[in-house]
Symmetry: C2
C-alpha cells in the first residue's frame, strides 16, 4: 500500500512529517510518500494554487499510488477543487482519498466525479497530544479497511463535512447531492452565534433537507460568546433540524481531535 | 417624522439610547420612539424570537411611525425575518426601514416584500468615537433624504450587504434578486482566509454573477492571519470577481465605522 501525502490547503509541519514517517516505517505495512509540495509556503497556502494543484494531479495520475492523503486542513483546497477533477486520468479512479475539514471541498469534487473518498484523520494530527492514535487509525483503515476505524453508528450512504465548509459548498458547482445521505457535520473555532447562523443557512437548502438524517460531531474550541449564547451547539443544531423538517440523529464520533473517526463517502 | 427603534438582533446599550435621545431632542425635527424591547436580553439576543418579532411587527403596523430603525446588528434578525413580512399590514408599506450588518437579513425580506429599506448607520453607532456624525447622517437622511448621506458613487438600483450575511442568505427564501443591481459589500472581524472562502462561495452564485457591478466597502477589525495571508481584502475580492466574470467597481464608502454611508435599496 503506497500512500501519497500532498497538501492542497496549508503547509505540513516538518516535525509532524518526521513523526509520521517514523510511525509508518515501524509498521512495515505501508510505504509513505510525502510530496515535497507539502512543505512549500505561499502566504496562507502550501504553495501557489498552481503548485498545490500540480502536486495533487501528479499523485492522482500515478498508478503506483494506492491512497492520496491530505496533509492537513486550514483553508485553500476550494481554490483548486474544480480543476482537480477535470479530465481525470484513469489511475485517479483506482485509489482512495482521505482527509477532513478543508478537504471537504475536494471530497465534494471527488465524490461527484465518482472517486472513492473518506473523511478521516490527517498527517498533521500526529502533532496533537495523543495524535499517534489518530493517524494510526487512518492508516489502519487505508491499509486494511479496519472496521474499528469507522464512525460506529454510520448508516451508509454517508457523507461528513465541516459545517462551515458545507455552507460554502452550497450553490457552487461542487455542491454534493445529499439525497438520502446520512450527513455528519462538525466544526471548530466558531462562536455559537456563527453556528446558529450557518445552521439557518444550511438547513434552508432543499438539498440538505433531503438527507436521510443529520448527526452532529464535536464542535471544538468554541470562542466565548458575549453574552453567553444561551444554548449549546447540540440544541442549536437540533432546533434548526426541527424547523427544517430534517431528521436529527443525535451526536456523531467525528471532530477536530484525536478521536476523529473515518466516514467513507457514499456506499463504500 | 416619527422614528421607531426596535432591536431585531442584539440588545441596545442604555447609554447609547440616552445619547441618541438627547441628540434627537436637540434637533427638534424628529420624534424618536425607542421601543422597550431594545433593552431586553435573552442569551445572545434582545429578547426571545417572539419578543423581537412582536416589537418589530408592532412598529411596522403602527400608522403613526414613519421610519423603523434597527437599534444595532450583532446576530439574530434572520431568525424572525421570514415571519416579519408575513401578512403585511397596510401601514408597513408607508415607512422606510434603516439598518446594516445583521439587518441585511431583514432588508432582504423587506425588499422582496416590496417595502422601502436602506443600508445605513444605526443607533448603537452613537457609542463609537465620533459616532454622533454617523447617527446624524442617518437621521438627516431619514428626515429630509439628505443626498450628502448617500454613498457618493452609487448607481441605482443598488443593494448593500455585509458579505457574511449575504453568503448566509444564498439559497434561503430570503435570497435577494440581484439581477442588474449595484452590489456593495463590506465585512468586519473576519480573517482574510474567511473573506477568501466567502468570496469563493458568493461568486459561485448565478444570482450574484448577474449583478451590474460589485464594489467593496471597508473590511474592519481583520484578525491577524497566521501566516500572513499574502493578499489584502481588495485583491481577494477583485480576484474572485475576475474568476466569476463579475464587473468589479472598486471601493465603496460603507463599513462598520462612523463614515458608513446610506445605500437605499432598489431604485429609491
Amino acid at each position: 500500500m503506497k500512500i501519497a501525502v500532498v497538501a492542497p490547503s496549508c503547509t505540513l509541519k516538518r516535525d509532524a512529517a518526521d513523526r509520521l514517517e517514523a510511525l509508518a516505517a515501524s509498521r512495515g505495512d505501508c510505504e509513505l510518500a510525502i510530496h515535497p509540495q507539502c512543505f512549500l509556503s505561499d502566504g496562507h497556502f502550501a504553495g501557489s494554487d498552481e503548485h498545490r494543484l500540480a502536486a495533487l494531479r501528479e499523485v492522482m495520475a500515478d498508478p503506483t499510488v494506492d491512497a492520496v492523503w491530505s496533509a492537513r486542513g486550514g483553508y485553500g483546497s476550494n481554490r483548486i477543487a474544480e480543476a482537480a477533477v477535470r479530465d481525470l486520468p484513469p489511475a485517479a479512479r483506482d485509489k482512495i482519498y482521505l482527509g477532513y475539514s478543508d478537504s471537504g471541498f475536494l471530497h465534494a469534487a471527488f465524490h461527484k466525479a465518482g472517486l472513492k473518498c473518506a473523511w478521516g484523520p490527517m498527517p498533521q494530527d500526529v502533532a496533537r497530544e495523543g495524535g499517534e492514535a489518530a493517524v494510526t487509525r487512518a492508516i489502519d483503515w487505508l491499509v486494511r479497511r479496519d472496521a474499528a476505524a469507522i464512525e460506529p453508528a454510520l448508516q451508509a450512504p454517508a457523507m461528513a463535512f465541516n459545517l462551515t465548509v458545507l455552507a460554502a459548498l452550497l450553490g457552487t458547482v461542487l455542491e454534493p447531492d445529499l439525497r438520502g445521505v446520512e450527513l455528519l457535520i462538525e466544526d471548530v473555532s466558531e462562536h455559537h452565534y456563527r453556528i446558529d447562523r450557518t445552521m439557518f443557512h444550511v438547513t434552508s437548502s432543499a438539498n440538505v433537507r433531503s438527507v436521510a438524517r443529520l448527526r452532529l460531531g464535536r464542535v471544538g474550541d468554541i470562542p466565548a460568546n458575549d453574552p453567553d449564547f444561551g444554548r449549546d451547539e447540540s440544541a442549536i443544531v437540533e432546533e434548526w433540524c426541527h424547523r427544517a423538517g430534517i431528521p436529527y440523529g443525535g451526536r456523531a464520533d467525528i471532530g477536530h481531535d484525536t478521536e476523529n473517526k473515518v466516514v467513507p463517502f457514499g456506499s463504500n
